[in-house]
């Protein structure tokens, strides 16, 4: 009997120990942050609150784009940010978006001058707005054809700027890393969205995020040669389709606009709307019978994305989880705890 009691006791202790260790959640060390992509920087109260509560004021701020000017035959900045409020309380990482076309067109001797101009413009903007920064993020969807020029640019820029340098990495650049190369930066930021095809096919999977398309890429992640922060989607858009062709994508057209029955009718597809007439809406001209396919990422889908992705990442302490982006309706629909829950996957 005594032996039996001891045995039972032992089993109980083992069970309790297992339970304690097994149920103990892995503590996440990740940090949340937001992108801000609009040209005019002006946060309303809910946005400011979300940025503070969910992300401790960590802000990746797009300062300007760099585009190829077909008429001038030269690269130039575009949509330089206009900062209309005090910004000093935010921890800012300047982000510069450079079109791949710029590198397609740029001659090799223009690379260092471009790095100089971009570095100067970043410093002019940050100095005049009293922004101190420790890192710069460059966003460019480079390809095998532009790899050499883009990477040379990154090296030249780093030499001038001297701060930490990071670059966005798209999923195809992970999968085909042997061809597209790994950029010479301190850190990569994996853009975990825009993985599907933007298509006029009304039944096409959600192009922002879907598990099927994501699965084709995530298995290559552990092999990637850079530490990776993560950018997650927090936006919706409407794909404008005319005569069977995608003609534009609008972030500013949302569920609210599309639900207006005087302008649109719902089709057999729940997320597809058809224009009843030709009319202007928010500066956009819509023709009768145009179709709008609405795609979005709701909190549930976002959580699914985080869960799918986190399983395939190499370990990294204090990984930054950056949500794209703060000014969207999708962001305003979230609460700080939702954001923290998603980030806790990493």
């Amino acid at each position: 009997m005594r032996q039996k009691m001891l045995f039972l006791g032992l089993i109980l202790i083992i069970l309790i120990t297992c339970c304690i260790t097994g149920c103990k959640k892995k503590i996440s060390t990740s940090n949340s942050a937001f992108y801000y992509w609009k040209t005019i920087f002006s946060l309303d109260k809910p946005q400011a609150a979300l940025l503070k509560d969910a992300a401790a004021n960590q802000l990746y701020l797009r300062l300007f784009d760099v585009i190829w000017d077909e008429q001038q035959k030269d690269v130039r900045p575009n949509a330089i940010i206009s900062i209309n409020q005090d910004i000093h309380q935010f921890h800012i990482v300047p982000v510069i978006y450079i079109t791949n076309r710029a590198f397609e067109k740029l001659s090799p001797d223009q690379i260092v001058p471009l790095a100089e101009k971009i570095n100067k413009l970043i410093n002019d903007i940050t100095t005049q707005n009293k922004i101190s920064y420790q890192r710069v993020q460059i966003d460019c969807d480079w390809t095998t054809g532009t790899k050499n020029r883009y990477f040379a640019f990154l090296k030249a820029f780093k030499q001038l700027n001297k701060k930490q340098l990071e670059a966005t990495i798209r999923l195809h650049q992970i999968k085909y890393a042997d061809r597209t190369g790994v950029p010479p930066v301190d850190k990569g930021v994996l853009m975990f969205y825009n993985m599907g095809k933007v298509s006029a096919n009304l039944k096409q999977r959600n192009s922002i995020y879907n598990t099927t398309d994501a699965a084709k890429y995530v298995k290559y992640l552990p092999l990637y040669q850079l530490p990776l922060d993560i950018a997650l989607p927090l936006f919706s858009w409407a794909i404008h389709i005319r005569e069977g062709k995608v003609i534009q994508i609008y972030v500013k057209i949302g569920q609210q606009e599309l639900s207006d029955r005087t302008n649109f009718r719902q089709t057999g597809q729940p997320n597809v709307y058809q224009a009843n007439k030709s009319f202007y809406l928010g500066g956009i001209y819509i023709k009768e019978n145009d179709l709008f396919k609405f795609e979005t990422v709701n909190p549930k889908l976002l959580d699914q994305a985080a869960s799918q992705l986190s399983k395939h990442l190499a370990h990294l302490e204090k990984r930054n989880i950056i949500y794209y982006e703060l000014s969207t309706n999708a962001a305003s629909a979230l609460e700080a705890k939702d954001v923290k829950e998603v980030s806790a996957h990493f």
Binding site: P77, G244, S278, Y285, N289
Partner: protein, 429 residues
């Protein structure tokens, strides 16, 4: 029409459709197409920047999109006329366009004997036969005008950054300009000073827009009060463009777009900036804009602008109902045909093309054929040829042949471009 011709028609015009490269943060379209329907043959060249092209903003690489230099040539030639050609255009160009305020001051002092040496590079107006009073009035005007350039002319350097979204518009200048307008006797100079005053208010308002505590400027009232007496010339319409910009800044889009349409209609030089600025926002402000139009002609310009940007067929219908003889139909018809051609329509509408495309092309053919049959337009041959071409694009060769036959009888035989276009289409018959 031989079978060979049919084959060429059906093959040549299947353009390679654009592929969308979408990446959320940008994207561009790559299109390759060739046209067999040349707008040059039918449409006034004033509209040439807006001929259909899918890869660049303006047709034929047209580059007139520099706000700092757009009117330079006109400004010089207007002053040259005012001086009765007594001051050559090279000298005027130097003084009007290149010289600084300091340069003008030196040139003026030198002209009046208050300075012995003329700084290098500046023209010596003492040598001209121009009326002395006029030269002095010119210098006085220029001194003020150069002061206004501080806030009205951009640096032109894309890579420069200034935190203040707009440059400081000096407060004291308002009174100086106002006095100058009131005192000016010469109507040419008076109108230019009035223009400077209007532009001053426009930039003052822009500066205010960044600071909501500041009050409104009296631009509309000033424009109406003083503007009524001036001839409705280039400088008047340029001032009107600033009034439009003022309304745009205030979010009064109906007014802004109506005024931009008047500028668009005024001259070739104003067409690009006016069309660039023309942005109806919602159906309501667009309706208000239409209601602001005082005449059928003004309404036609508005529909023409909507049409050439967004919806050629709808605009053609509206304009045709107001005045079938309107020349503003021409550009729209060329665009309608060229856009459809670039879409790469299949030879038969019963093919796998989407339903909306079939409906749309059928509507276009019906519209253009109807107008061609009614013979009410300025250029009936143009409509007949377009109807023929659209029908052949859709594989309706019998109907196409009828329209080409009709066109043949209507052709202006002395118009070599139209004849060349007709022959180009018939060459394989």
């Amino acid at each position: 029409m031989s079978k060979k011709f049919l084959l060429i028609f059906s093959v040549c015009f299947i353009a390679v459709a654009g592929i969308v490269v979408a990446c959320g943060d940008g994207g561009y379209y790559d299109d390759y197409e060739s046209s067999s329907f040349a707008p040059e043959a039918f449409v006034n060249s004033d509209y040439s920047p807006f001929f259909f092209t899918s890869s660049t903003t303006y047709y034929n690489g047209y580059y007139m999109d520099d706000s700092n230099t757009r009117y330079n040539y006109l400004v010089v030639s207007e002053w040259n006329s005012w001086f009765d050609n007594q001051v050559d255009t090279a000298s005027l160009k130097t003084l009007l366009i290149k010289a600084t305020a300091g340069n003008i001051d030196s040139a003026s002092r030198y002209y009046n004997g208050k300075r012995n040496v003329l700084p290098a590079g500046l023209p010596d107006l003492k040598k001209s036969k121009a009326n002395k009073k006029k030269v002095n009035a010119f210098f006085d005007y220029l001194l003020l005008a150069k002061e206004c350039e501080v806030y009205s002319v951009g640096s032109g350097d894309y890579w420069s950054y200034e935190k203040a979204p707009v440059k400081e518009v000096p407060q004291a200048l308002e009174r100086t300009l106002m006095q100058a307008v009131n005192q000016a006797k010469d109507p040419f100079i008076k109108e230019r000073l009035w223009f400077q005053m209007v532009r001053y208010y426009y930039f003052k308002q822009r500066q205010h827009a960044a600071d909501p505590t500041k009050t409104d400027v009296p631009l509309p009232a000033y424009f109406t009060k003083e503007g009524a007496s001036f001839p409705k010339n280039m400088i008047y319409y340029r001032a009107l463009g600033y009034l439009a910009g003022y309304y745009y800044q205030k979010g009064e889009y109906a007014q802004a777009n109506y005024l931009y349409s008047l500028c668009y209609n005024y001259s070739f030089e104003m067409k690009i900036p006016s069309r660039w600025s023309f942005h109806p926002q919602n159906e309501q402000d667009w309706m208000e804009t239409l209601n602001l139009a005082k005449t059928g002609k003004e309404k036609i310009t508005l529909w023409h602008m909507l049409g050439s940007r967004s919806d050629e067929a709808r605009a053609i219908k509206e304009i045709y109902a107001i005045d079938p003889q309107s020349e503003k139909l021409d550009l729209l018809l060329s665009r309608l045909v060229n856009v459809r051609e670039a879409e790469g329509q299949a030879s038969k509408d019963t093919s796998a093309t989407s339903k909306t495309k079939r409906v749309e092309t059928a509507n276009e053919r019906t519209l253009v054929s109807k107008i061609a049959n009614e013979d009410k337009t300025l250029k009936p041959y143009y409509w007949s040829m377009a109807a023929g071409y659209l029908n052949s694009l859709s594989g309706n060769y019998t109907i196409a042949r009828t329209f080409y036959g009709k066109a043949e009888k209507q052709l202006p035989k002395n118009d070599t471009l139209v004849m060349a276009q007709y022959e180009a289409e018939m060459v394989n018959r």
